[in-house]
Structure formats: structure tokens, C-alpha cells
């Protein structure tokens, strides 16, 4: 391979990509739009706590105040008080699309002091089943603790809840590595699927093959372009996330291999899809079928840990998951062993797909392909098939 020739072709490929509106949009504008939109939505939530609306009808009792303080201390819910004048809390939760509402009845403190049973009312929204489950767990836990304390007992088994890395990560923190993974996926995949099928139809690969540029040099220049793009979008998204939305992301050298191997993986898949497809339309369809599930189910916009349990194995089956998990491990948690495991998985996949793509993608004769012909012979006899 002649590196000079590959680098000579590189600026031309960059021009071709930048002058395509789709290329610029997918490469730079779309990820920036996403971080601005999602950042604006999630930046002010402060944490991933589930909001819990509480109607405290026993406002003056110290025990009800203790109960609410206990709920806040769980770190799971964020208590906000609603006025008793709202009426039926169940309707209030439904009409305001809240996750859950809790009613502390009048005489809550006095009843407990008399060691009599008291009933709390918890309304949960069925459309937020996962979050509602977290609220139920928190309320149950605080109630059990209070029961024990009133009964004069003390807990024998306790635990300390510590956040890994010593920091509570918010959605915006997860969003930055997620969107970096998104841009590593989308730009190479979409462009390569389109480019490889269109260039094949327009015989542009044939044009290049008749120059001294080799297949390997072309591939190297193409990969280099997408690695540069991945680096640029990493800096851009990290900068925007940090400066505008206070994301806690640290650029570390551990992220660098992901920004090299990731583009190799998705360029290879895009090239393979475009090469094996008969038409650009079919290639586009295959590209979408591959890209869209990964785009939404790999932890791009929300951490996989918050997915319902049945969806988690689906996420684990998607290639982008390992890239984003590795980026989370390197950019957020500084978890070297997880990052290296993910890197190993992404590297093996990248090598496999790169091998398959280079086998399928040929400069010269398309193996075994027989071109159709129109018979123009006078006697209607069928001749050989070629032109």
C-alpha cells in the first residue's frame, strides 16, 4: 500500500462527503441538534430520581415530616408536595401525566404514636411501570424502617449506597457518550451504504480502479476520513455537553481506540451492505434495518440499565451497545476492565466485518455475474450473454 496515494485521495473523498448535503447533515448537524435538544430536555432534571407528588394531610406532625425526609433520603424519588386543595390525587396524577402520587392521611403521626396501623395511598401511573416500581420500593422501604423504629427495634442489616465513581450520573452524562456512539454509527453506515451501492451502479469504482489507487488505499483513506469525523464529533459533543449542560464527561486516552475501531466496524458493515445489494434502494433499506434498532436500543439516548428487563438482552445483542458501553466506561466511569472487554468485542467484530467486506468488495470483475443482453439477431436465435 502506498500511503502517499491514499493521502492524495483523502482530500477528494473529504470534499465528496462534505459537498453532499446528507453527509454534512448526518456527520455534524444531526448529532449537534440531538445534543442540544436532549440536553435542553434532560439537563435540568438534575438526577435520574423519579418525581413523587405527595399530598400531606397531616402536615404538622413530625412523623409525616420524617417519613417524607426518609423518602428523599432514598435517592430514588424526588418528593414534591401538592396542595390538599387539588382534590382527588388519583385524577391529579392521571391528568398531569405524573409517575406517582402519595397521600399521607390526616392523623398519620398520632395514629403511629398510638402504635395503630395506618394506611398510605399510593397512586401509580401504569404508563410508567418501571419508574412506578421504583417508587413502590422506596415507599415500602421507608415504611418498614419507620415501623421498626416505632416498635423500638433497630435494623441489624444495613447497607451504604455509594455511587460508583463517587458521582451521581445524570441523563445528560450518559447522553454524551451515547451520541458519540450514535455519530460513529450513523455517518459511516448511512454514507457507506449509499456510496458503495451508488458508486457501483455509476461505475465510479471502475473509474478509480483504472487509476493507480488500489482497493486497500481507497479503503484506508475512507476509514481515515471517518476516524477524523469521529474525533471531531467527540470533541464537539463533549464540549457542548460539558459547557452548555454541565455533563460530567472526561476525555481520556482510553476512548481513543473506540473512535478508531468503531468507524472500522461500521464502515465495513456499510460497505458490505452496499456491495451485496443489487440496487441503491435495496442497500438503503438494508442500511436502515441495521441502523435503526441500534440507534434506539443500544443506550444512545438513555442508559440500558434503565430499560425494562426484557429489553436488556436485545440491547446486548446489538453491536453499538458495546461501543457505547465502552465509551461510558472510559468517558464516565474510568472503568478500565469494562472498557477493555468492550474494546476486545468491538475489535473482533470490526476485524470480522472488515474481512467480509473486503472479500465482497471488488475493484475488478464481479465474480460470477452474467450480464443480460438484448437479442438483435435476425433469426431470433439466442446468442451468448455478454456485452
Amino acid at each position: 500500500m502506498n500511503l502517499g496515494r491514499a493521502l492524495a485521495y483523502f482530500p477528494t473523498f473529504a470534499r465528496i462527503c462534505f459537498r453532499s448535503r446528507l453527509g454534512v447533515f448526518m456527520t455534524l448537524i444531526f448529532p449537534v441538534m440531538l445534543i442540544l435538544v436532549f440536553g435542553a430536555i434532560f439537563a435540568n432534571t438534575g438526577s435520574t430520581r423519579v418525581p413523587l407528588s405527595v399530598e400531606n394531610l397531616d402536615r404538622n406532625s413530625p412523623l409525616s415530616q420524617q417519613f417524607l425526609a426518609g423518602l428523599n433520603d432514598t435517592g430514588v424519588v424526588s418528593v414534591s408536595l401538592v396542595s390538599p386543595t387539588v382534590g382527588n390525587l388519583s385524577d391529579y396524577v392521571t391528568h398531569n401525566s405524573l409517575v406517582a402520587g402519595l397521600v399521607i392521611p390526616q392523623g398519620f403521626g398520632a395514629t403511629l404514636t398510638n402504635r395503630s396501623p395506618v394506611r398510605l395511598l399510593l397512586f401509580t401511573n401504569p404508563s410508567s411501570a418501571v419508574a412506578a416500581g421504583e417508587v413502590q420500593g422506596a415507599v415500602q422501604g421507608v415504611a418498614n424502617g419507620m415501623d421498626l423504629r416505632i416498635a423500638g427495634g433497630s435494623p441489624l442489616v444495613t447497607y451504604v449506597d455509594l455511587n460508583a465513581g463517587g458521582h451521581i450520573f445524570t441523563v445528560i452524562d450518559y447522553l454524551v457518550p451515547g451520541l458519540i456512539g450514535f455519530s460513529v454509527l450513523v455517518s459511516p453506515m448511512m454514507q457507506m451504504v449509499n456510496l458503495s451501492s451508488t458508486w457501483k451502479r455509476e461505475k465510479l469504482f471502475r473509474e478509480l480502479s483504472l487509476t493507480p489507487l488500489s482497493r486497500g488505499e481507497w479503503l484506508f483513506a475512507t476509514l481515515l476520513w471517518y476516524v477524523v469525523l469521529a474525533l471531531v464529533s467527540t470533541v464537539l459533543l463533549t464540549g457542548l455537553g460539558t459547557l452548555l449542560f454541565g455533563a460530567h464527561v472526561t476525555l481520556t486516552p482510553l476512548a481513543l481506540p473506540f473512535l478508531i475501531v468503531g468507524p472500522v466496524l461500521f464502515v465495513s458493515i456499510g460497505l458490505l451492505a452496499g456491495t451485496v445489494s443489487r440496487t441503491p434502494e435495496v442497500a438503503g433499506m438494508i442500511g436502515n434495518v441495521i441502523t435503526f434498532p441500534m440507534m434506539f436500543l443500544s443506550g444512545t439516548f438513555y442508559p440500558v440499565s434503565m430499560f425494562p428487563s426484557w429489553l436488556v438482552p436485545v440491547a446486548h445483542a446489538l453491536l453499538l451497545y458495546y461501543l457505547i458501553d465502552g465509551l461510558n466506561a472510559s468517558l464516565l466511569f474510568g472503568n478500565v476492565s469494562t472498557a477493555l472487554t468492550d474494546l476486545a468485542i468491538v475489535t473482533v467484530l470490526a476485524i470480522g466485518f472488515a474481512f467480509a467486506a473486503t472479500e465482497a468488495f471488488t475493484w475488478r470483475e464481479e465474480r460470477g455475474r452474467v450480464l443480460p443482453r438484448r437479442n438483435v439477431l435476425p433469426d431470433g436465435a439466442r446468442g451468448p450473454v455478454a456485452d
Binding site: G368, R373, R374, G383
Partner: protein
């Protein structure tokens, strides 16, 4: 090696004599410039075969092309022309036979061969968002050629479009970009696969003049074309392919002479003229108001004229008729391609 060195010398000498080829609207002056033809072939094809499964696309064909020669392939769709050209360009592997381009096997020495050939493919396309100047610069960098893009653009009359994106250019200008790119590496052999298809007559004439100049500079040109008139005007030799076989090869005149019918006298007039000419014993065909009599020799013409003149029958015109390349092609291969939407009024065949 000696052979190649001699060819290279021939080409250099030709370049000294002639300015570089340019696209021009002026028809090339026949014999107006020195012709350089080497006796040693730069393309040698011997018993070439190409099969796709059970299909014989190219079936045992042999020919050669010398430097300073324009060789044209004619044949119906599916005859194997483009397959043959692509094998010579090194883009397709052959099934059997021997092929040499500039003394090298184009498949196994693809990297060496492609630096010395120029190709204008059928239906040329390029990157839509590159300008002609950028395209030439790219090729110059890849071929490591010291060329002035503006000079090449001037040669193909694209100076005023140098900075326009390829997708804004017309069909003729697209083809000119292809021509420009094929010149960047100063090729010794040019493969032109239907270079004038879809061009208007002005652009077509301009490409013709350019092809003549390529030949005059001592380059070998392998041309495939839809247009018989084009082949007849430009070619030193023609190969007619059918069903993957070369069924005729030679200069246009030699092919017409060998495969065409003899010269004929055509008389338009009274249908009874035919019966008056019968005693002369010459082969004759008669259609509506027309009689054609084949001449065995020039001396047969006089008795025919005398017989008609003395018959007292009405006649409107006498003319001599010779077969054109088109007539010969139709007789040998079948009929003309039916798709004539973008073609001249006559002289087109399917390729």
C-alpha cells in the same frame, strides 16, 4: 524490451511532429499530418475466450493492434465487445487464450498496465460534486503526473466549465471530462467504449477529430461504436464480432470488398427494362420500378446502357451502387439495432 523502446521512440517522435491532441470542431485533415504506425503490435490477442457458466461470451478470438492505429469493434448487443475491451483493460479475467497489452498480461500486471492506458468507458460517470479541475488534479496526484489542469481543460474545450460541479455539466461535457481524465497519464493505448453515444453532431465531430489526433500522435486506439459511419471514417481496421466471434477483420474498404456485393447499376424506369436486360446474362434484382444489375467488370456497364437506350422504354435515372459498411454489416450480422432514438439518421448499428 527493444520492441517497447521502439514504440516509445515512435511516440516521442510523433509528438515532436504534432501538437498535442485537442478537441476541435474542424474536421481532421485526411493525411494532413504525419502518421506514425509501428509494425509491432501494442495489443495482441490470441484465441481469447471468456465464459460465464455455460455461456460463451468471447469465443476464440484473435487480433492485434499497432501503435498509431485506430481499430474499431462492431457487433450487435451481447456480441462480446465490451467484455473483450474490459479483459484488455485488466478489469475482467479471461477464461482462455493469451492477451498482451504493451507486452504485459493486463490481468496479472494490472498495476503496470493501467498506468500506460487511457480509458473512456461506455456511459462515463464521475463524482457529481467534483469540478473538472479538481478531477484532473486528483488523477494527476494519483498518477504522479506533472500536468497543467488548465492546459488539459483547454484541449478538451472545458476551460469555461473548469470550476463547475460535474453534475451541472451537459452530456457532451461529461464525455469531455472523461476524455480529459484519460489524457492525464499520457497513455500509449486508448480504449474508447462508445465515446460519442448520446452526443450532438457538433460534439461528436469534435471527438472524432480528437481520435484522429490521438492516432496521429502514435497512440493505439481501440474504439467500440454504435455508429457505422464513425467506424468507417475513423478506423484503420475494423473487427466485426457476433456471438463472441470475430467474423470479419480488415480495413473498411477490404471488408466491403470481401464481403460486399459487386458494384451494380441501378436503373429507375419502366419495369419491362428487366426483360430487355436478361439476354446479357448478368445477375439482376428487381423491385418497384427499379432494376439493379451486378457488374462482373467495368466493361459490362456499356452494353447495359446501350440496351436500355435502344429499347425505347421509359427510364428516369442510371446510377452505380456500391455496398456501404452498413450494408455489409447487416448482411453479416442481421439487422440494425431498433433503438435509434439518439442516433444519426443512418449508419448506426448495435454494439
Amino acid at each position: 524490451m527493444i520492441r517497447l523502446a521502439l514504440d516509445a521512440y515512435d511516440r516521442r517522435r510523433a509528438k515532436r511532429r504534432n501538437p498535442p491532441a485537442t478537441l476541435s470542431h474542424e474536421p481532421a485533415q485526411e493525411g494532413g499530418s504525419a502518421r506514425v504506425r509501428s509494425s509491432t503490435p501494442v495489443i495482441e490477442v490470441s484465441h481469447l475466450e471468456k465464459t460465464y457458466g455455460k455461456v460463451h461470451a468471447v469465443n476464440n478470438i484473435s487480433f492485434d493492434i499497432r501503435a498509431g492505429e485506430v481499430f474499431s469493434f462492431l457487433g450487435p448487443n451481447g456480441a462480446g465487445k465490451s467484455t473483450t475491451v474490459e479483459i484488455l483493460e485488466g478489469l475482467r479475467a479471461r477464461t482462455g487464450g493469451e492477451v498482451r497489452v504493451l507486452g504485459l498480461d493486463p490481468w496479472s500486471h494490472f498495476d503496470q498496465v493501467k498506468t500506460r492506458i487511457g480509458v473512456i468507458p461506455q456511459d462515463f460517470h464521475f463524482f457529481p460534486k467534483l469540478t473538472p479541475r479538481e478531477a484532473i488534479r486528483l488523477y494527476a496526484r494519483l498518477f504522479n503526473a506533472k500536468v497543467d489542469p488548465d492546459e488539459i481543460l483547454a484541449r478538451v474545450e472545458l476551460t469555461d466549465k473548469a470550476n463547475d460541479y460535474y453534475d451541472t455539466l451537459s452530456g457532451g461535457q461529461h464525455q469531455k471530462v472523461g476524455v480529459a481524465l484519460s489524457l492525464v497519464n499520457d497513455p500509449e493505448v486508448c480504449f474508447l467504449d462508445e465515446p460519442t453515444t448520446g452526443l450532438d453532431p457538433r460534439a461528436r465531430r469534435s471527438i472524432w477529430a480528437f481520435i484522429r489526433r490521438l492516432r496521429d500522435e502514435g497512440r493505439a486506439v481501440l474504439l467500440t461504436t454504435h455508429y457505422l459511419e464513425e467506424a468507417q471514417q475513423l478506423s484503420d481496421r475494423i473487427g466485426i464480432l457476433n456471438f463472441g466471434k470475430v467474423i470479419a477483420t480488415g480495413s473498411p474498404r477490404a471488408i466491403i470488398s470481401e464481403f460486399g456485393r459487386p458494384e451494380r447499376i441501378r436503373i429507375v424506369g419502366d419495369p419491362s427494362i428487366a426483360s430487355r436486360l436478361k439476354p446479357l446474362g448478368l445477375p439482376m434484382t428487381q423491385t418497384d420500378g427499379e432494376v439493379e444489375v451486378e457488374l462482373h467488370s467495368k466493361n459490362d456497364a456499356l452494353p447495359i446502357l446501350q440496351t436500355v437506350s435502344t429499347s425505347g422504354l421509359r427510364w428516369e435515372s442510371f446510377s452505380t451502387v456500391n455496398d456501404s459498411l452498413e450494408d455489409v454489416f447487416i448482411r453479416m450480422v442481421g439487422h440494425l439495432e431498433d433503438d435509434t432514438s439518439t442516433t444519426p439518421t443512418r449508419g448506426e448499428v448495435a454494439t
